[in-house]
């Protein structure tokens, strides 16, 4: 700085070299644009998963032929995928938001039991099925509020807070149901949710709907974008004036709500509410989400990836059963396949420079 010497020469607007770099970047982009576009589209980013799923389907057809390829079987797979799928969509948001929820399975159980005891005991026959629906959703969201409050405002580690909820919710479910399976005698309910629409089970429709809404929510709304910032860089989010605590609370309410929906679906599927519903959903859901390419550290993830993750696991189970594989071999195969799928996904992603 020194002397009050010569002012800097009027530098003519220097063509910044960034122009070069980025221009170069742009150019490269343009050259392979169509390809790149595709690659950066959700499908592209999940190409590895697509491949994995396709391979699975081929195996299915090869080993089980029409028994696999039949429409009925496809619907079976989808119906099976739909319940855990809805939970996984909710889980995706929590994980992108930098958290995790181990209590989803327990919440599903509690919600299912609460809703069905309403039907079977409190009001007996004359329960309108809407009451059950509302009960399930309310219970699920309620549990989410508790989780969210403990984590956002009580500053508890999500893992431990939701682990506590896991224990508490299942216990409560057992107490309420007196450990008896609650059979639903509200036929309208079962018929409505168990039934088909345009030849496709309503459960599958619900899953599709939830996924679509989830996708829009994550990619097209301020809530979704804020979720990414809260998970990716909470400090920046706060500096940007986002109420991180409240947003976190919302995230756990969201997954709780999803569990409520899942509870309704499972009641419809099994015609029962039970404290044993949703066992180990937490692991299945998280696995689907992570296989789908969402980072457990938060800040990155896709709904499409999660849907693929769910479908892969569902198809896997189905193929195993069709081939009459015993549980143990299934477990081993499952482990190996998870590894292969993820490695494949990584290699492909790396090749496309995405991730």
């Amino acid at each position: 700085m020194s002397d009050q010497a010569t002012p800097p020469p009027a530098v003519t607007p220097p063509p910044d070299e960034h122009q070069r770099v980025e221009a170069l970047a742009e150019e490269t982009a343009r050259r392979e644009s169509s390809f790149t576009r595709m690659m950066n589209s959700s499908v592209g980013r999940n190409l590895g998963l697509v491949i994995a799923l396709v391979v699975l389907i081929i195996i299915g057809v090869a080993t089980a032929g029409d028994r696999f390829a039949s429409v009925d079987n496809m619907l079976t797979i989808l119906r099976f995928a739909s319940v855990i799928g809805v939970v996984s969509i909710g889980m995706t948001f929590v994980i992108i938001g930098g958290g995790i929820d181990l209590s989803v399975g327990a919440i599903v159980a509690l919600a299912s039991v609460w809703a069905t005891t309403l039907a079977t005991q409190t009001m007996a026959e004359d329960t309108h099925w809407l009451v059950m629906v509302l009960a399930a959703l309310a219970v699920g969201t309620g549990c989410g509020v508790v989780n969210g409050t403990l984590i956002a405002y009580g500053r508890m580690a999500p893992f431990i807070a939701t682990l506590a909820m896991l224990a508490a919710a299942r216990g409560l479910a057992e107490i309420i149901s007196e450990r008896k399976t609650q059979i639903v005698d509200v036929r309208e309910f079962v018929e409505f949710f168990g039934g088909d629409f345009l030849g496709i089970p309503r459960l599958v429709w619900i899953f599709a709907l939830v996924s679509a809404i989830g996708w829009v929510l994550l990619n097209r709304t301020t809530f979704g974008r804020r979720t990414i910032s809260v998970g990716g860089n909470p400090v920046a989010a706060r500096l940007a004036g986002i109420n991180v605590k409240r947003h976190t609370l919302f995230l756990y309410m969201l997954v709780g709500f999803a569990c409520g929906i899942a509870a309704i679906m499972i009641i419809a599927r099994t015609t029962t509410g039970s404290s044993t519903h949703g066992l180990l959903y937490e692991l299945d859901a998280i696995a689907a989400v992570v296989i789908g390419g969402t980072l457990l550290t938060g800040g990155r993830g896709t709904i499409v990836g999660t849907v693929f993750g769910v479908l892969i696991f569902a198809t896997l189970t189905n193929v195993f059963t069709l081939n009459n594989l015993d549980t143990s071999s299934q477990a081993v195969a499952k482990g190996v396949i998870i590894v292969l799928a993820v490695l494949l996904q990584q290699r492909v992603a790396a090749r496309n420079g995405s991730t």
Binding site: S70, R79, F80, K180, T181, R269, T270, T276, T321, N324
Partner: protein, 326 residues
């Protein structure tokens, strides 16, 4: 299984869970503390086990009942038994998560002078229990298999498709049931064509069954190990609109009995959870030094194996009041 040439009594115990035994055994005696430990009540049948034990204990004011947290972790259950030993309870009723794993601690209890009543899953040593009440898992499979053979014969089904929906595969009891089923089937030159295993839960029952139905487009006979998961299995049948097969159940829940009555189920093989109640009663007798007055012996017998009868529409009313809510 025990190689002791001890006297066996069949069925009796199952009965006295419902109708109170004759004689003075139900008159209050000295108050005895009975510790009870069973697997996690993570499905209906086990829940019924716990509750029936609870009820049996409450029906006597001379029983001080201690129930440990149900668990599927052998290590934890061992520490619970150790706790009972430390406490010096008068008797222990134990439904082990795994018979072999709990044997040593049971022996410790016996050596500490605490009689152990072994329920359902048998210890690996005869010295581990004062008396043993077994549901006969192998026999259960045999009954189911035999009944299946009979169905095939009566309905003269040509090369029938037989499916099995087992319970938790990792459990020895599931293995026994499947083995019994297979052995019985082989007597009529049949075998299981499709087999899946659920987890005793309604949900897993539904999931596995619906996949099974896809695996086998046409089925003649399905044996489902457990009526509790059977609720889910039936839901799967309805979802898929399939009912071309004979549906045989297991355990004998009230739901199953209802289905049989409504003709929605062919039969179910009894596997009464009341054995826990029997365990409590016997433990009380042993602790109070009484005998089973409705038996000839002066002492409580060493081994009781519950018979696993097949309940059908014909003999339903015999058994319907033994059913358990799940």
């Amino acid at each position: 299984t025990s190689n002791e040439p001890e006297e066996e009594s069949n069925g009796g115990a199952a009965a006295d869970s419902t109708e109170a035994p004759a004689g003075g055994n139900d008159e209050p005696g000295e108050t005895v503390t009975i510790g009870f430990s069973g697997p996690a009540a993570d499905h209906g049948w086990l829940a019924a086990i716990n509750s029936s034990a609870q009820e049996a204990a409450e029906s006597y004011e001379d029983i001080d009942f201690r129930a440990a947290e149900g668990t599927n972790d052998a290590s934890l259950q061992i520490s619970q038994i150790e706790t009972f030993i430390n406490e010096g309870v008068d008797a222990i009723v134990l439904l082990p998560t795994d018979g072999a794993a709990l044997t040593d601690v049971a022996i410790q209890a016996m050596q500490a002078g605490i009689p152990v009543v072994n329920v359902d899953r048998e210890f690996s040593s005869p010295f581990a229990a004062r008396t043993t009440i077994l549901g006969d898992n192998y026999g259960m499979g045999v009954s189911a298999g035999t009944y299946a053979c009979q169905l095939i014969e009566d309905n003269s089904i040509a090369d029938p498709v037989i499916a099995e929906i087992a319970g938790i595969d990792a459990l020895p009891l599931t293995q026994d049931r499947s083995r019994g089923f297979a052995d019985a089937l082989s007597d009529c030159d049949q075998e299981v064509d499709n087999r899946v295993s659920a987890e005793f839960t309604v949900e897993s029952g539904e999931a596995e069954a619906s996949n099974l139905l896809q695996a086998a487009p046409q089925i003649d006979i399905i044996w489902n190990h457990d009526d509790d998961q059977g609720v889910g299995v039936k839901a799967a049948f309805e979802n898929a609109g399939r009912d071309e097969f004979f549906f045989i159940g297991g355990a004998g829940s009230c739901n199953a009995m209802q289905w049989i009555e409504d003709g929605e189920m062919e039969a179910t093989v009894l596997y009464p959870p009341t054995q826990a109640a029997d365990g409590i009663k016997l433990a009380r007798l042993i602790a109070q030094g009484k005998s089973m007055s409705d038996l000839v012996q002066v002492e409580v017998p060493r081994r009781t194996v519950l018979y696993a009868p097949v309940v059908t529409a014909d003999n339903l009313e015999e058994f319907v009041d033994q059913c358990f809510e799940s």
